[in-house]
Amino acid sequence: MTTGMVENWVGTVSQLGPIYPFVGWEFFMSILGLAGWIGWHVWQTRFESKTYEEDLKRLTKKEGG
């Protein structure tokens, strides 16, 4: 089994072009990367809001005695 298009490092290696694995999957990988990035911002914003809500609850309780 092989994940790349490189069979050996002999001869006219400079003619190989892309040497990373899974050539042809670039579009899918880009979408995956973009989705992960946007997903992170959504998660982070929600997590931050939740943290502030919990902080506010705690502070309000303290003030109320």
Binding site: V10, T12, V13, S14, I19, M29, L32, G36, E48
Partner: protein, 377 residues
């Protein structure tokens, strides 16, 4: 290693060209490998701080930095190393060769050394001993990122004829003399750092220490194959490596009462172990060398390689040496000194006089009561 252009070959096995090349490069490799030696020892230092004796640590540092990492590099980080030839072992930026071996070595020591006083509650659950100065930790980790970048470049020969006689074509090559590009390793480094940081923030719920450490862990997880990965692959592998190391760190801490003070076993050892293995799957079938007789990269070879790095050359020697040092009662500092604090024990006169001066300043300024009130005295 001084200014020397080669001259006549010193042995029959060398050509004039070999002699000329190595006369000009030897010092560079020597200094770069010396840096790796320091790195291996400094990884161990973080795990064992606050309770190991300096005398013991210096012996351990010499062993990991000048013996075991050198052995593993000759086995798996050399164009003709037996692990490369027979297992198809590939570890371009040393996930296993530096990080897993040092992490494993530290874990072996920790098993004998024991936790810091107060790390575990009487019921066995761990306490989180937070860094005394988070901002210094942050700056330190950022320094490591910067140094790591240089480390990546130092793992290459930056300009090498990759076509060996079939028309000249210069590119960077790895330690295995296989082609990569400086562009690729720069981008992959950044993407792995990014993947590590993003996942570190999520998994640690925004903890600054673990987020920045995860950036480092991400790079380490992707380092085995960062000469060949696509940048997005580097980012995803880094993120997965962070999940693995973070979960494993807290599981081991709870289950085996291991006090890895700065998480170095996790960040370097577990991430490095993960990085070696994942490269076997993602780079399956790639040639490990320009020599076509050598094994190609494969999952089994990488799994065996990871076990050799972390277990055989890391954990085992660390554990055995620590046991010997413990037997001589020179591994751990006395309990009383640990309770007092190593700095206080070492510099007690300095602190005493500082205390006197601070007291005098407060008395003269009339603020002593305010401070006492604040301290609840």
């Amino acid at each position: 290693m001084g200014p020397h252009l080669g001259g006549e070959p010193v042995s029959e096995s060398l050509t004039k060209e070999d002699t000329a090349t190595w006369a000009r490069l030897n010092g560079v490799f020597w200094a770069a490998f010396l840096l790796f030696s320091w790195t291996a020892a400094s990884i161990v230092s973080g795990s064992v701080i606050e309770r190991i004796r300096s005398s013991a640590f210096w012996i351990l540092a010499i062993l990991i930095g000048s013996v075991f990492w050198v052995v593993d590099a000759s086995w798996g980080w050399h164009p003709d190393g037996w692990m490369v030839q027979l297992l198809g072992y590939h570890d371009a930026y040393t996930s296993g060769v530096i990080h897993a071996v040092a992490g494993g070595f530290a874990l072996g020591i920790l098993l004998v050394l024991g936790p810091r006083i107060g790390k575990f509650r009487p019921d066995g659950t761990p306490r989180n001993i937070v860094p005394h100065n988070p901002w210094m930790v942050t700056i330190g980790l950022f320094f490591i990122y910067t140094g790591f970048w240089g480390f990546y470049v130092a793992c290459n020969i930056p300009l090498f004829d990759i076509q060996a006689g079939e028309g000249i074509s210069f590119s960077a090559v790895t330690i295995y003399l296989t082609p990569t590009t400086l562009s690729a390793i720069t981008v992959n480094f950044i993407m792995a750092l990014t993947g590590g940081l993003l996942m570190g923030y999520v998994i640690s719920k925004g903890d600054a220490y673990w987020t920045y450490s995860a950036g480092l862990a991400g790079i380490i997880a992707a380092s085995s194959g960062n000469d060949l990965y696509h940048p997005i692959q580097a980012m995803i592998i880094a993120a997965l490596g962070v999940v693995f190391m973070y979960k494993l760190h807290f599981w081991v801490e709870k289950k085996f009462k291991i006090d890895d003070a700065v998480g170095a076993v996790a960040v370097h050892g577990y991430s490095g172990f993960f990085g070696v293995i994942i490269a076997g799957f993602v780079l399956w079938g790639y040639p490990t060398s320009p020599n076509t007789d050598y094994a190609t990269i494969n999952p089994l070879g990488q799994i065996v390689g990871a076990v050799i790095m972390f277990g055989l050359l890391g954990f085992l020697p660390g554990y055995i040496t620590a046991k010997i040092l413990h037997g001589f009662k020179i591994l751990r500092i006395p309990r009383e000194i640990e309770l007092l604090g190593l700095d206080l024990a070492e510099y007690d006169h300095r602190y005493l006089s500082e205390g006197e001066i601070a007291k005098a300043e407060c008395e003269e300024g009339g603020d002593i009561k305010w401070i006492q009130d604040k301290l609840g005295e």
